[in-house]
């Protein structure tokens, strides 16, 4: 399915799909579930950041992978907890459950923001659905920001007093993609490499490729300095305008007295404020 979308990436339908949350969730978490458990653990550990909770377990993602094989479910429908506000059901985006280990809930956002209310409902429902699990982790995927996450975590902790078995993490799609790109540089089997490659393609298709910052612009600077005057010898409309002084030599294309509708400096400054 992913490759059908990629092949038609200029199709308006594919473009609309790339804006939707469920196809992104499905693309990523289906493929994460195909990875060997230790590698998947390593990838998630490298990509997530703990969100400190007040009065709840503040630990990060443990180093050592669990030995058992996890079970994945996308959009499981859980009965709401009696302590929760939902009356019908609770539906997290993805859940990874290690036998004898934590239940890990992934709440994914593509364009929207995370909410403490939704985290609370899902954690309470997880405790109700998996009563024997020793811990419940929630990974907020996308829609996070450090300042707001602190406020959300505080709200969550205030609402879940007495639940000391909870961990909270944030995961940015872009960081996940960066780690996937890095992982592909290591020595991997063909199947694993193909899954990681698909994950990277999928994340990029949904506009969640690695973030490039300004400091990496340097590597794109041409070795030869750019000489804007070089076009002088090509211009089909060559001819200096005497009144334009030195600039006429550098930019000899005669300028028509053209007027862009918004050329006036003040208008351009004011326009966004109207």
């Amino acid at each position: 399915m992913l490759h059908a979308h990629l092949r038609k990436s200029v199709d308006p339908l594919a473009d609309r799909l790339s804006r939707r949350e469920d196809p992104l969730t499905s693309t990523v978490f289906e493929r994460l579930s195909y990875l060997d458990a230790p590698l998947m653990w390593r990838l998630l550990r490298a990509s997530t950041q703990p969100i400190p909770l007040i009065s709840l377990a503040p630990d990060g993602w443990p180093d050592k992978p669990l030995e058992a094989t996890p079970t994945w479910h996308l959009w499981p429908r859980w009965a709401p907890s009696p302590e929760g506000h939902n009356t019908r059901s609770v539906e997290p985006d993805a859940v990874c459950h290690w036998p004898g280990g934590p239940v890990i809930i992934f709440e994914a956002k593509h364009h929207g923001a995370q909410t403490a209310w939704q985290w609370r409902e899902q954690l309470l429902a997880a405790q109700w659905a998996h009563k024997a699990a020793p811990e419940y982790w929630l990974v907020a995927v996308g829609g996070t920001a450090p300042a707001q996450d602190r406020a959300r975590a505080k709200e969550l902790a205030d609402n879940l007093k007495g639940h000391a078995d909870i961990r909270l993490f944030r995961l940015s799609w872009e960081t996940l993609c960066e780690k996937i790109v890095q992982l592909q540089r290591s020595s991997l089997g063909g199947g694993t490499r193909a899954i990681l490659h698909d994950l990277e393609l999928g994340l990029c298709h949904f506009g969640r490729g690695p973030v490039e910052y300004m400091d990496s612009l340097l590597k794109h600077v041409p070795s030869e300095p750019i000489n804007s005057a070089a076009l002088n010898s090509w211009s089909p409309a060559r001819g200096a305008s005497p009144e334009r002084g030195h600039a006429a030599e550098l930019y000899p294309i005669p300028l028509l007295p053209s007027y862009s509708p918004n050329q006036d400096a003040m208008l351009a400054l004011m326009e966004p404020l109207t």
């Binding site: 707001q148 612009l217 041409p222 750019i226 000489n227 006036d264």
Partner: protein, 213 residues
């Protein structure tokens, strides 16, 4: 290579190199704006609109971009881009965040209204590539008159000032602040957080007060 010994093949080599570099720049501008947008929307603002800050937007597909009177600049909207987000706080307070990204602060308008010509710009090595974060708050009854507020800020000599500046127009009060950040300082996530996102968070947290970040 000097202008004297340039020849057509060299010129197009330069054009190819320049476009590749501009793509790399534009990719980073896009990524930067995505980060800023997610942060701003997380504080309850909605994206309002964007537009090129120094020209008209590129023509629509059924309108030739090469018509007489159109500027070549219209096809370079990334040269200077302005994005705006708004929020109504419901108690007579409205806020606006404008982010402008200028690849080249050396830009100069043509005094006679012709298409701006880079030959007349300030020297590139004396100019900056810069992001401006402009923070506006309005408190009052009815629709704000942003243009009057802007004119007043300019008349008061505070245009471009990072110090929060308040102006009163009738019963309404506007506050304004502008933080200019050279793009070369935005080297990574930490710098973006410190120089942009943190300022927005602090400003949003100080309801109705001038920004003094």
């Amino acid at each position: 290579m000097s202008p004297d010994n340039a020849n057509p093949p060299d010129a197009f080599l330069q054009v190819r190199q320049a476009y590749r570099l501009i793509y790399a720049y534009q990719r980073r501008v896009r990524d930067l704006l995505q980060i800023i947008d997610e942060h701003i929307q997380g504080t309850g603002f909605s994206f309002k609109r964007w537009r090129p800050a120094r020209s008209s937007p590129p023509s629509r597909s059924n309108n030739p971009f090469f018509s007489r009177g159109k500027w070549a600049w219209d096809m370079l909207p990334g040269y200077a881009t302005r994005c705006m987000w708004t929020r109504s706080d419901g108690d007579g307070q409205r806020r606006r965040i404008t982010v402008e990204i200028h690849a080249d602060t050396g830009f100069e308008w043509d005094k006679e209204g012709r298409e701006p010509e880079p030959g007349f710009f300030k020297k590139a090595n004396k100019s900056e590539s810069e992001l401006s974060l402009i923070l506006w708050t309005y408190r009052g009854e009815g629709q704000p008159d942003w243009i009057a507020a802007l004119n007043r800020v300019r008349a008061d000599g505070h245009w471009g000032s990072p110090e929060g500046h308040s102006v009163s127009l009738g019963e309404s009060v506007y506050t304004y602040a502008c933080h200019d950040v050279p793009l070369h300082e935005l080297t990574g996530r930490e710098a973006v957080n410190r120089l942009i996102l943190k300022r927005i968070t602090e400003w949003v947290g100080r309801s109705g007060e001038p920004s003094r970040v």
